[in-house]
Symmetry: C2
Subunit: 250 residues, 2 copies
């Protein structure tokens, strides 16, 4: 199953049907398909369909729920989104970290929900409590009024890029002299880096703590090019051979 | 001058005034302010102001031009945007690479234009020729119909993140246990990495080629956290001390 199929985009109490349509369009450009609406004020609506601009298949398959717990039923994890700078009582990550986390973890197969609040009042604290983690989209402090469909677009875009930006379900090649590194090459880089970290004494496999996971997340979030992976591996090989040339010590 | 002030967002032949308003809002959330409109079909308009949702100051200061060359006058560089997968005759970069390039280069002070085409027909080849480079926003192959304001939002978001995601012109602290690394720390990491690359024999300062620039770009594009910079510097220090402990060779 492609990871895009595991993602539920959940909109809570959306007021403007045009926004629901714009969300569907934003999702479809980034290969997401599962829309869940919690007590939308007006739906279905001609305005939603018009703004969906060809993504009306997503509207047609949208699930309508009467509460957020119902929308989250069966989810392995759920994330709330917020553009607010208030001191949150919940762990807060950036959209890029969220996408890197999903790309790094082998998601077992459960659904992942990303929850977006009302246009004017966002999510309540009780609703935030239902989600494990908050995603804060960075904005200018003086004007953080991000349209809800824009917020969905940014999250969906980060997910799409973290998956390699490749179209799902097609083998279509993109003309690109320096393509993104495929997941296997990132994984080889990860193994290589950990090996040299161990060789240098920086990493102790007997006491790994969070290092392997943090390294994996770091390598996943930069949209590395093949050429960049080659540079980093070339450097690691040089370090290895220099360390080996100098003999072996404990 | 903050880099946000050097960026001109140029919309060519926009048909729907609502999109112009949505673009202004998208820009303002990400601390961009300079909007240039080339032959908009309807402007000003009540619909644009409504969709700007508080970003009407950007609309009020928008420059109207009657041609793309007039809109690009005085720009040091200009970029065209496209969501199309056609084999472009122009160099194509991703939004993240674009943002990393701007963050890595010390932009001397000239303006940078990012040009967005018509809702239905995009930019003409002649218009693309006026821009040095194309930015392609990755989308699903089967549905690449990205709304123009969404495209502006993604580009503006990438620029904002590449600048550290910090609000411009304020010293407001963001509650964040693991904040993004400031530019100076990224620069120290860059210097440190190049030094160890040289020490390991991987990098020859007498023949640097493109390596320093590529490394800088690589470090700028990942939105590194302070803790991640610390991990990488800790590793580099371990490699250095291990190499030194083994004596000095050529």
């Amino acid at each position: 199953m492609a990871i895009g199929d595991q993602i539920r985009i959940v909109l809570v109490g959306t007021t403007h049907p045009g926004n629901i349509g714009a969300v569907a369009r934003a999702m479809k450009t980034m290969a997401l398909s599962r829309l869940v609406l919690v007590t939308p004020r007006i739906f279905p609506s001609a305005e939603a369909t018009a703004r969906a601009a060809g993504a009306d298949d997503i509207l047609a398959r949208a699930l309508i729920c009467d509460s957020l717990p119902a929308a989250l039923a069966g989810c392995e994890r759920s994330y709330a989104t917020t553009a607010r700078r208030r001191h949150l009582e919940w762990p807060v990550i950036s959209p890029r970290e969220f996408a890197a986390d999903l790309a790094a973890d082998a998601v077992a197969g459960g659904d992942i929900a990303v929850v977006f609040g009302r246009e004017h009042s966002g999510l309540s604290n009780a609703e935030l409590d239902l989600c494990g983690t908050a995603i804060r989209i960075p904005t200018q402090a003086q004007f953080s009024s991000l349209n809800i469909a824009m917020a969905v677009q940014i999250i969906a875009y980060e997910l799409f890029v973290a998956r390699g930006g490749a179209p799902i379900g097609t083998g279509a090649a993109i003309a690109d002299a320096d393509p993104p590194a495929p997941a296997a090459e990132i994984d080889h880089l990860y193994q290589h880096l950990l090996a040299v970290m161990e060789r240098s004494g920086y990493f102790d496999p007997a006491d790994p703590r969070l290092l392997p996971r943090r390294i994996r997340r770091l390598l996943n979030k930069g949209e590395l090019r093949r050429s960049e992976v080659q540079i980093l591996r070339g450097f690691l090989t040089a370090v290895q051979s220099r360390l080996s040339a100098k003999g072996h010590d404990s």
